[in-house]
Subunit: 508 residues, 2 copies
Amino acid sequence: MWTTQAFDVPGAHQGFREPSSSRAYHLPAIPFFLFHCSLLHNTKYNSLCYTEISFLGLPSYPKSLCHPPGRHSFCPFRAPAFALGNMNSFHQWELLLHLLLLCDIIPGFIWGFLMFAGFEGHFPCSTQTLTTQQPMLSWRRMRKMDSRAMESPSLWEEALKLIGAEKGVVHLAAAAVLSAAWAPWAKQEGKPLWKLLVDMDPQTLVSCIDFRYITDVLTEEEACEILRQSQVGKKERVEEQMLAHGYPAYTMSCAWLGHPDATLKQLCSEALKDSWTRFKVKVGANLQDDIRRCQLIKNMIGPEKTLMMDANQRWDVPEAVEWVTKLAEFKPLWTEEPTSPDDILGHAAVSKALAPLGIGVAIGEQCHNRVIFKQLLEAKALKFLQIDSCRLGSVNENLSVLLMAKKFEIRVPWGFPVCPHLGGVGLCELVQHLIMFDFISVSASQDRMCEYVDHLHEHFKHPVLIREASYMPPKDAGYSTEMKEDSVKRHRYPDGEVWKKLLTAQGN
Amino acid sequence: MWTTQAFDVPGAHQGFREPSSSRAYHLPAIPFFLFHCSLLHNTKYNSLCYTEISFLGLPSYPKSLCHPPGRHSFCPFRAPAFALGNMNSFHQWELLLHLLLLCDIIPGFIWGFLMFAGFEGHFPCSTQTLTTQQPMLSWRRMRKMDSRAMESPSLWEEALKLIGAEKGVVHLAAAAVLSAAWAPWAKQEGKPLWKLLVDMDPQTLVSCIDFRYITDVLTEEEACEILRQSQVGKKERVEEQMLAHGYPAYTMSCAWLGHPDATLKQLCSEALKDSWTRFKVKVGANLQDDIRRCQLIKNMIGPEKTLMMDANQRWDVPEAVEWVTKLAEFKPLWTEEPTSPDDILGHAAVSKALAPLGIGVAIGEQCHNRVIFKQLLEAKALKFLQIDSCRLGSVNENLSVLLMAKKFEIRVPWGFPVCPHLGGVGLCELVQHLIMFDFISVSASQDRMCEYVDHLHEHFKHPVLIREASYMPPKDAGYSTEMKEDSVKRHRYPDGEVWKKLLTAQGN
């Protein structure tokens, strides 16, 4: 059993720091940062550094990346809501928070799916709780007690489970930590992450997966076998497909709920010029509005191009069926998140009701762990499976879901294509690696597509490259998570240039 | 749409305060406290105070309890793990944290299911982030913008949903806030909460329930009808059953995993002397140990008394079936939490496999919201439904689950008896109100029982009263949540007397 002991690290708070008069505090960042620090910092047992990384669920992690801890620093980055454009009122409150952790133990950027309330009513945040004159951080030192230490090689301490195992903000934090561990691994190999995964032997890949609670549908041996079988044709899929043509995408940039019709037309027109052929529309606020907007889009894109709909959990089950039936004339390929992301049987009921209309159900962006996906597949509750690079436990848990989807594919005619979610805000940069790996090493099937939102890419050192409505494989080594220093500096909260202006304007 | 605006409240941090040299910070307390403050504080729109309480999901809340905000203070209480006795190694890391919020808006105690790592590896916590020289809290002011403001009368802001709707630490925090609102309401009426609920007319009770995502199985009208029908025989159930005999309970105090056999025998012997007839045993660490311990207990309690087993999510589905089958000779009434609390279909599979052995499945303590319970009932994934007063969204969400259980009861021979979970630590004090309400006003059925753990009751002003292995109905007005001031003072972290000694010993 791992034991933990709290201790202070003087000077742990060096680095980028909020002024001490900062007025707010972090919500998700705290468990995230604590988790990160608790897992990685080790002042006494240098030799255990590698064991700690094993504890992260990466037993094959390169030892050369583990070395004595040093300075940690971090800085919050926020893009105010207005910069996101006039989007869906549901998303009106989104501010993006990136935590950049520059860390000598694992150099890299921690990138998490951390959302906050919007600009006008911004969710109070700062890093003051994380960096103060007196060290406020308590570091958790992991000590191996006995041979059972590796019994549950997981990020989850028993106590944290009681808050709600593998869900909520702590799971998001764990995902961020794991993603930060993958990035430098890929960098050290001189490969983009998708290539690191593609080149990895099945045994090593499978060693990164937590199979707890899914062995009734997928065992380690079966996972290995899937990966071994997919070696056939791999080279061709890399070179003739991915490198040559990229991975198909669809756009979510045109039809947010908040867009007036004129904007919708303009954006749709631009997207058509940019060769987009698949368009997703937000629905669910008002049926008449939905009918009008879908008609508008359909008129512009024509019958050959694809339309999908996204309700972002608006409805109960009966309402979902009724509402989508009234939109069936627009022949959407799928309706996304019709109801609660926790409602597996509800989505199964919606799927069954809409199947005669030729409309599938897509879901996954808020499905919090592999156990939910397991059941969605078992219950045939979805037609299109939407992973998320940061909602699930990073690459590790996404691997398990991709493999379960492959395992289940033969049970249904449609094969459960994986069509990842991403709402922009850098999720594109991450998930592109996963989908390319999925095509090359797991599914070998391109009857699928990945979401694309034209959102905040300019803040990334290695933004996605879209060509002919397809994701082109990243070439730079790493996980594409690095942000531009100037962007971070300008958007630092609350004293970065961008926020100073906003907060001054708000005060007036 | 509600809008929010952040602003500071000078002096918001008055009251009990941790020394500024405190070294750690709160994890669950932060979203909890923020939530509470954000919902209740209103410096400008006094007339909206009542609306804010409506937003809490309590539209009938007495206006007299809403008045201008004043001083807020709070203090963490912790019981170190060693005080919990030699319990289950799974629970070894439990520290109980109570946040007492003495608040002029809603006088009362906020009590939340907040668990932390155990003493030796205690999860770093303090309230420094909540109370500092410079106000760190940002308060969120709710302003009603238009007629759609009451469209989604729920605690859930859209942005918070993105962290993971109605699950994890934020849902626990919301539950704590709601529980704190119920307590003074009962007090003002001069009634214990169970009586407040029993005396409430169906319409008012139903107005406290959030029916989102469950209308496919239970509508407001159906809920009202269930409550109306249960009026028959209510008086007799109160007087002849509850007041005279109390509510049946079972004990979890004897057989934690960490107990050596001698302790197990001693505790079991004492429990038998105290007239306990139902005993639960923790299982799942080691099969041979489980066989030995179950045999030991069974020998002592005999064939007429009831044995149950609790695995605390130890197994995958196949392992659960295999393991419990090997314990079937002890004829357990149920096996509890055999697998992941997210695995509805997994529990359905276990239920089906164990049914021929006469063993039911009990689950619920970590089922995070009503949508999960809806599916557990739909899938017949459980035989015994275990609500939790603090895991679900307080009284409000528990009401919805009790009513769904009643609605589904006719679909199965066993009727889905509600047998609440509580791990001690004050949960007994709260859930007793819910089960009495359930018996009197919903189920009218006593083929059910409530967990009891002899744990930390001495810190409560109005601890549970157990007589002949039954919960006697509380008589004091309120929700039994109040803790003794001296207990709070002594266990305040880190400068209370108890913690000072522990931390000094730890340092040596």
